[in-house]
């Protein structure tokens, strides 16, 4: 009899698990829905962008559903998610691809189904898209080269254009176009504004806080007179901050990150991180939704939308007068 009881129990358990997890978000799909596919949400940057999408959708009065891969390296799982999302037949797919090719098969299917495609945060490469025959409605995101250049401008202003000394650049994940653009924008502008500041190393930190911390420690050992570190995102910059302060060189080394995320803002207010070139991910998400609505309504939308970036420093944050600060989440 016990076995009979458990036999029933087995079915119930299985179905129960399915139902329990479905109940978390039972949402019946509706017509005119937007699909939003992020890289990951395990990062305040993407969290802010998701908030922008949510607020933008609410203001514009549109429905959307959102998914994210488990990490920003899960290229194939993200493709699987994308394929599955198409089954809900959204009118638009707003995608932040993990790399420039992983979502292409899905985007092709979307295009065939007449779904509008938006490249969120500029992860797709126009040359590859042209070759594959995928037409994107628009790219939207920060201008990463400009963001890097703004970092260099800040550094040249702070140290003076005749300053001399070694500088470390910590790039993103190898081969990631965003990190490359930021590093390149920084390096080119720095050469132009303050040629005495020499980049002694430019290494991939894989977007990883711990890895960036180790790179900073190692570089400080090799170059004890290091004057500045530019990191392609805030997470890595915060890792570098820890290493620099641990080495007792907080006042000697200027550290700059990119993103302007909450952790970075906190660190800047505490006077540890010197600056972060804030990408306004909230604004990127919000404008993405607004522009998709326009495009769906037949309005003309530029092929590439650059959302401005803003250099956050302690002065800017304390003064609180910069109007774009409201978008720094």
């Amino acid at each position: 009899m016990i076995s009979h009881f458990l036999k029933i129990n087995r079915f119930t358990l299985a179905v129960g698990v399915a139902l329990a997890f479905s109940a978390v978000g039972v949402a019946k799909a509706e017509d005119g829905e937007y699909g939003v596919l992020m890289k990951t949400l395990a990062n305040p940057f993407w969290g802010a962008m998701a908030q922008g999408v949510a607020d933008g959708a609410k203001e514009a009065g549109v429905k959307y559903f959102q998914q994210a891969a488990e990490s920003d390296q899960a290229a194939e799982p993200q493709l699987n998610l994308c394929n599955t999302m198409l089954e809900r037949k959204p009118v638009a797919m707003i995608t932040a691809a993990i790399n420039s090719t992983n979502l292409l098969p899905c985007l092709k299917s979307a295009q065939e189904a007449g779904i509008k495609i938006v490249d969120l945060d500029n992860n797709l490469d126009q040359a590859v898209l042209d070759k594959e025959g995928v037409k994107v409605t628009f790219h939207i995101g920060s201008d990463n080269i400009a963001a890097g250049a703004q970092g260099a401008e800040y550094l040249a202003n702070k140290l003076g254009k005749d300053a001399k000394g070694p500088v470390l650049v910590i790039e993103g994940l190898s081969g990631n176009i965003t990190g490359e653009k930021r590093a390149k924008g920084f390096a080119d502008k720095l050469k132009e504004l303050a040629p005495g500041l020499e980049i002694v190393a430019s290494l991939p930190g894989d977007w990883d806080r711990g890895k960036a911390a180790s790179i900073a420690t190692d570089t400080l050992t090799a170059h004890p007179d290091l004057v500045a570190i530019f990191c392609a995102n805030d997470g890595m910059a915060l890792g570098a901050v820890e290493s620099v302060y641990a080495a007792g060189k907080g006042s000697q080394v200027t550290i700059i990150g990119v993103d302007g995320n909450v952790d970075a803002v906190k660190s800047i207010k505490e006077g540890r991180l010197n600056a972060s070139v804030a990408q306004l991910p909230y604004l990127v998400g919000k404008q993405a939704v607004e522009n998709v609505k326009k495009a769906l309504g037949g309005e003309k939308v530029p092929e590439s939308i650059a959302v401005p970036t803003l250099v956050l420093t302690k002065d800017v944050l304390d003064a609180g007068k910069e109007p774009m600060l409201q978008y720094v989440k």
């Binding site: 299985a14 698990v17 997890f21 390296q73 394929n83 599955t84 089954e87 992983n102 081969g175 991939p204």
Partner: protein
């Protein structure tokens, strides 16, 4: 209880037939069907041919790895390097096709060969150096990943030739190529493990190495073949991955070994060897695939999906342990 053993009921007879003939536990099939029914009721998009193919497509890479995991675990071993070897194999194939510009067939060979060599090294170390499989394959996890990054200089290798991309994105008769490759591989692997001497010796080895040795099975030799096979299958998975995303990605397959092992365990493989079936593992992989697909269709955030899979894993082993205890009590 006694009456149940002398005159098994209908359910018991079907159960036994499925275990004996198909080598699967009926419970896992029931869970799969129950889940599918639940998803079909909850989402109007679940029950369609294109979504069915979607599930199989999403399961294909991990499914091939899970086949490898089933053989290794069934033989009483462990291969933690599956995901890394898969990444290495994909990069090796892309390197041959793109950087060397060799014909596509060599890229395919390179994938499987790279995986096979890594697996062969695992097997040699496990059987000759007496280093535990856990350590050997954990070491290979690092070695293969590092080598993939070295070969690719840390960057994904893009621009594969159309023949390779066809392997990942082509759809003969509307069926995605990875699905065709995956299903064929699974059928052959199931036949080998369940119905051939090689397969029976694999399970006997995992059950009791002493018994296998006493029965005249060349234990070390057999283990080396299993690890090599495991690596070669990881190579095939690497080919599918690379062809699907059109890039030899050195970060491909991170943590995939754990997902593959999960599929095998949900499918009824004994983690300590001796009991395993490919069909069971396929059901395990599909349970995970259906769960992920259905929850995505229901717009459930992916973090909950991971929780759901974790819960199913523990549940599956719980049911299995209960069954095993019940059988040994009768």
């Amino acid at each position: 209880m006694a009456s149940e053993t002398t005159q098994p009921g209908f359910w018991a007879r079907v159960q036994r037939a499925s275990v004996e003939r198909l080598h699967i536990r009926l419970e896992s099939l029931v869970v799969l069907l129950a889940l599918s029914t639940a998803m079909a009721l909850l989402s109007p998009y679940f029950l369609s041919l294109s979504n069915f193919l979607n599930i199989l497509l999403a399961t294909s890479t991990i499914g091939v790895l899970a086949i490898a995991a089933t053989f290794v675990i069934g033989s009483g071993g462990l291969d933690l390097s599956l995901g890394s070897v898969m990444g290495l194999a994909g990069v090796a194939g892309a390197f041959v096709a793109v950087n060397l510009g060799w014909p596509s067939v060599f890229a395919v060979i390179a994938c499987i060969l790279a995986g096979g060599i890594a697996g062969y090294i695992n097997g040699q170390l496990v059987t000759r150096a007496f280093v535990p499989a856990f350590i050997v394959t954990l070491g290979m996890l690092g070695l293969a990943r590092g080598l993939a990054l070295v070969i690719s200089k840390g960057r994904a290798i893009y621009g594969l030739p159309p023949e390779i991309v066809y392997i990942g994105q082509g759809r003969p008769f509307g069926v995605p190529m990875p699905v065709i490759i995956f299903v064929l591989t699974a059928i052959v692997a199931h036949a080998v493990l369940a119905y051939t001497r090689f397969g029976r010796h694999t399970l006997a080895l995992g059950d009791s190495e002493g018994a296998a040795r006493a029965a005249g099975i060349r234990v070390e030799h057999h283990r080396r073949i299993i690890y090599t096979l495991s690596g070669a299958l990881a190579g095939l998975a690497g080919l599918l991955f690379t062809a699907r995303v059109n890039a030899g990605d050195p970060t491909a397959g991170i943590n995939y070994e754990l997902t593959a092992i999960t599929a095998a365990i949900i499918g009824g493989t004994n983690l300590f060897g001796g009991r395993a079936s490919i069909l069971g593992t396929m059901i395990g992989a599909l349970i995970m695939g259906v769960l992920q697909n259905g929850l995505t269709l229901l717009a459930v955030q992916s973090y909950y999906q991971q929780m759901a899979i974790g819960a199913v894993l523990i549940l599956a082993v719980f049911i299995d342990q209960y069954q095993v205890r019940k059988e040994s009590r009768v």
